[in-house]
């Protein structure tokens, strides 16, 4: 089972390599990348440097070109595909049918992974992409239960990749317009959810307020841990009940189910967080390397070490983690 780690900068690439990543995924610093945050990601020069670093260590480079192309601007997406192939990426991570079409026609030997943004959650959808666009791997959305992941794995022989750790998207990825509804900027086309330029913090007599494009996402009492206003983690009111109507600020952590994922033939476990710091990437990569190695050393007696879980919990959103949709009760 491959450990696939995120990087939004060269120092993060190095951190992942030094701490045991088998593969690293990155993207360009433009709208072709679904993690297009200011000050992050790779220009033409840096992406070549990242490729060289990763290839020197004999590790795999995956490049995410996973937004949906805008009219009249398709050449940016074509350029990203050409560039990724040119620098020798092992795999291209693509969501848009237009980009899949271009990559699979122009580079029939390229390894194409279906991005989570394409939201393939079932066998018929996987068949659609496989039969029409020659994909070899599917990154599964974070909406499936572990039982459903196992069922899919039995139904298809295509490689499956799952999200293992990091931010918890609770909506089927690529089909969520909440951020675009509030800000006008869509993760699907511009590449960022709850973009930082729309975030405001304000001290009021009702407490510290976080807003996104002037909409109150949450209010915090003195001393309460305030989180980034990702809007699905906000506190809203349904009739008289004020609560986290969609989800609490929390992160996904699947170390506990490593044995089930391995037995279900999952090809790769993905760490989310291209927007996070090199120190974060280092810590998560190091602990996940330990966990995976520990499982393969003695599969029958695998147990999550409480020290790993503590350290991962400390760097997680809201300092808490969950199995998310993998666990049926969460749903």
């Amino acid at each position: 089972m491959e450990l696939l780690c995120p990087a939004g900068s060269l120092p993060a690439v190095k951190a992942a390599l030094e701490n045991g990543a088998d593969a690293i995924f990155i993207g360009m610093n433009n709208e072709t990348n679904a993690r297009h945050f200011t000050g992050l990601n790779f220009n033409d020069k840096r992406i070549k440097q990242a490729a060289d670093l990763i290839q020197q260590k004999n590790k795999d480079l995956h490049i995410a070109i996973n937004t949906f192309a805008q009219p009249n601007q398709f050449s940016s997406w074509q350029y990203a595909v050409d560039k990724a192939v040119d620098i020798g990426a092992k795999a291209l991570i693509i969501a848009d049918m237009a980009v899949l079409d271009y990559a699979s026609e122009k580079y029939p030997n390229a390894e194409i992974h279906l991005s989570v943004q394409a939201s393939a959650t079932n066998k018929a959808a996987i068949d659609f992409y496989r039969n029409n666009f020659n994909i070899s791997r599917v990154v599964l959305p974070r909406v499936l239960s572990l039982h459903q992941v196992k069922q899919l794995s039995r139904q298809t022989d295509i490689e499956l990749e799952v999200f293992a750790f990091g931010s918890l998207c609770i909506m089927a990825e690529g089909r969520c317009y909440l951020s675009s509804y509030l800000t006008g900027e869509s993760p699907n086309t511009v590449g960022a959810c709850s973009p930082a330029k729309f975030v405001q913090w304000q001290q009021t007599d009702k407490g510290l307020e976080s807003r996104l494009n002037n909409i109150v996402i949450d209010r915090y009492k003195d001393g309460e841990n305030a989180g980034y206003p990702t809007l699905c983690k906000g506190k809203f009111k349904v009739e008289d009940n004020l609560y986290h109507a969609l989800e609490e600020p929390t992160s996904l952590n699947t170390i506990d189910i490593i044995p089930e994922l391995a037995k279900a033939n999952i090809a790769s476990v993905k760490i989310e967080g291209r927007q996070r710091s090199p120190a974060y990437v280092a810590t998560v990569t190091r602990l996940w390397r330990k966990a995976i190695d520990s499982y393969y050393n003695d599969p029958e007696n695998f147990q999550a070490d409480p020290a790993w879980m503590q350290e991962l919990g400390n760097i997680s959103e809201g300092s808490q983690t969950t199995l998310g949709a993998y666990h049926r009760d969460w749903q």
């Binding site: 398709f74 239960s145 089927a172 509030l182 809203f236």
Partner: protein
């Protein structure tokens, strides 16, 4: 311009659904979409009931389309989807690419629903080759974006191969989750939901802490808090849209439909209610209004 009634997004008792479609049969809609698109646990009407209803409505000289689920996870949901696609009489609105794959294999035409990410002309070109005969635009695309795509389709000589449909009225489907937010709002899990959506024929409003209507919780679907309303944009839709879609409401759907038809014949400015918006059409945030 044609007018359609989209698939009902909410969960109503069978009797209410039947009554709604009796009215629809006598309405001015040209196209009616039928079927459950949100949650497979909503079974007040089953496939055979929908098919029976479709046959009744087909005699009223309207086009009937069977709409299918947007988020399919369990193998049982996929098997049911296949039965819809194999029905033999009615065309399918695909809201997941899995449905497109079945239609493609069956060599039958389909409608590409608003939950499919078709954002550009190379995508539409591929979909047309697979049998797409109508494109329902994704909710966040506005006039300029659609117009740009259509001029590219013109250059490809493909503009006459498909129709364009846009939702012009009703809360917009914004997201789909594994979690049921209506059940959560009653402090239940999805497994134990007791089909509580049926108590909320227009969904449940989630307000921000300063009382702004942000979202409507509708089972596993999250909808826009404001009702999308393009009543003042009907004339601007004429050169880019072939079909105006009205999303079924618990009340007044047919009066709203008639308002849009009247607006098409003779446009007059209507003041939008405070909780209505038209932002997406004008390339700004969906909840904003021009």
């Amino acid at each position: 311009m044609k007018f359609s009634l989209g698939a009902n997004q909410y969960y109503w008792p069978a009797k209410q659904t039947q009554e709604f479609y009796q009215q629809a049969a006598n309405s001015n809609a040209d196209i009616i979409y039928l079927g459950e698109t949100v949650c497979s646990k909503r079974r007040e009407l089953r496939l055979k009931d929908w098919l029976e209803l479709a046959k009744q409505l087909a005699s009223s000289n309207k086009q009937i389309v069977l709409s299918t689920m947007a988020l399919l996870e369990a193998p049982s949901e996929v098997s049911l989807l296949k039965k819809y696609c194999d029905n033999g009489d009615f065309i399918i609105e695909a809201n997941d690419v899995g449905a497109i794959e079945y239609c493609r294999q069956n060599k039958v035409e389909f409608v590409c629903g608003q939950a499919i990410n078709a954002y550009n002309s190379p995508t539409l070109k591929r979909l047309i080759a697979m049998g797409m005969q109508r494109w329902v635009t994704p909710v966040e695309l506005g006039r300029d974006w659609i117009k740009n795509i259509l001029s590219e389709m013109d250059e490809l000589n493909l503009r006459d191969k498909f129709e364009v449909e846009t939702q012009a009225y009703g809360h917009l489907p914004l997201a789909y989750s594994a979690r049921c937010f209506t059940a959560r709002s009653e402090n239940r899990s999805k497994n134990d939901c007791e089909l509580c959506c049926i108590k909320y024929p227009s969904g449940r409003i989630a307000n921000s802490q300063d009382q702004q209507e942000l979202f409507v919780l509708n089972g596993i679907q999250t909808m826009s808090g404001f009702c999308y309303n393009l009543i003042n944009d009907v004339s601007g839709m004429q050169d880019v849209v072939d079909i105006i879609r009205i999303s079924p409401q618990a009340e007044d759907t047919f009066a709203i439909l008639d308002d849009f038809i009247a607006q098409h014949k003779s446009p007059t400015y209507k003041k939008l209610a405070n909780n209505h918006s038209n932002g997406y059409w004008h390339k700004i945030a969906g909840m904003q209004t021009i």
